[in-house]
């Protein structure tokens, strides 16, 4: 199949061109499991790709920029990351909201199999914290497989809701309430 190549033009005013190294360093600093890498086609042409989980057994190519020019490829890679972050934010918002069970009309309930809703991320974090009697962002990060930032927000929410105490010097928060006093169990 013939592939039409678009002419590769540099934006006229790239005063401060970004490099793949900057993209890769940004990802490393911000815990994003991506990296730009150049690959060579059999015809000798080179293009920049964005790898996911580079160097790990499940590593793969997440996005092909289709760009040979490093600056243009880096712009495309950052645009790709903006999309990933947008999707993560949208999912995080949904996870952080308390889930409201959908009301199924009786007629539909008769024919639609009832699937138990997946507990929200916050509910799972609460269950872990209640079981342990204390909570730390690191423990939640480990147990739930989420970022430290996200785990931190969950513990802060517990404090806001009076479920966990303030963080001690080592980041540990005591759980202040029993299961019976949790919202929904009153």
């Amino acid at each position: 199949m013939a592939v039409e190549k678009f002419p590769q033009r540099r934006p006229l005013e790239v005063k401060d061109p970004m490099t793949a190294g900057e993209f890769n360093l940004w990802c490393a600093i911000h815990d994003k499991p991506y990296r730009m890498a150049r690959h060579q086609w059999p015809d000798g042409a080179t293009e920049w790709d964005v790898e996911f989980n580079p160097g790990k057994p499940d590593g793969t190519i997440a996005y092909g920029t289709g760009q040979e020019d490093e600056t243009l490829a880096t712009l495309a890679a950052f645009a790709f990351m903006a999309g990933i972050e947008w999707a993560e934010d949208a999912r995080r918002t949904a996870d952080d909201d308390d889930e409201v069970p959908e009301i199924v009309p009786p007629s539909a309930a008769a024919v639609v199999p009832v699937i138990a809703p997946e507990p929200s991320l916050y509910a799972r974090a609460l269950a872990l914290a209640m079981q342990a009697g204390t909570v730390t962002p690191r423990a939640l990060q480990d147990a739930l497989g989420i970022s430290l930032d996200r785990a931190l927000r969950l513990t802060e929410r517990m404090e806001d809701e009076g479920i966990a105490g303030a963080a001690e010097a080592d980041g540990i928060r005591a759980i202040l309430v029993s299961t019976a006093r949790l919202p929904g169990n009153a």
Binding site: A28, I29, P54, G55, D142, G171
Partner: protein, 147 residues
Amino acid sequence: MSRLVLILRHPQLKDLYQFWLGLCRNERLPMAADLDPAHLRPWIDNLVVLDVSVDGDDFIYAYYGRSFSNAFGADTVGKPISNLPTEQAATLKAEYDRVVKDHLPQARVYTADFDGDTQTWERLVLPLFDRIGDVEKLLVCAYRLKN
């Protein structure tokens, strides 16, 4: 031995150390999340970023500067230092463990044989913290010292 103030030889490392000290102003801990790669441009090709593993027992390469990948032909990103040859891994782990434990930078000069070429390098290891004050990443920078 930990030192409160590092005495460095290479001008680029001196500058990076000053940059890191600048992040410590007002008794703040330098956090990874606060770093902007644009501010690290002067050193970007000679930097390595390592993630401290969740159990704190290993260090995983997250960024490996172009100078090193070109010089050593290695692609270490995504791999732990425990994958390195035993002696090298032990030396690096001891150095990184100390930075994580002491919350202080480390620097050293070393001479090694690189495929028959004896070279002397100076390296600087800087801790980067998370919001609860743990070291979550290490910023390593190294330059070859000319004889």
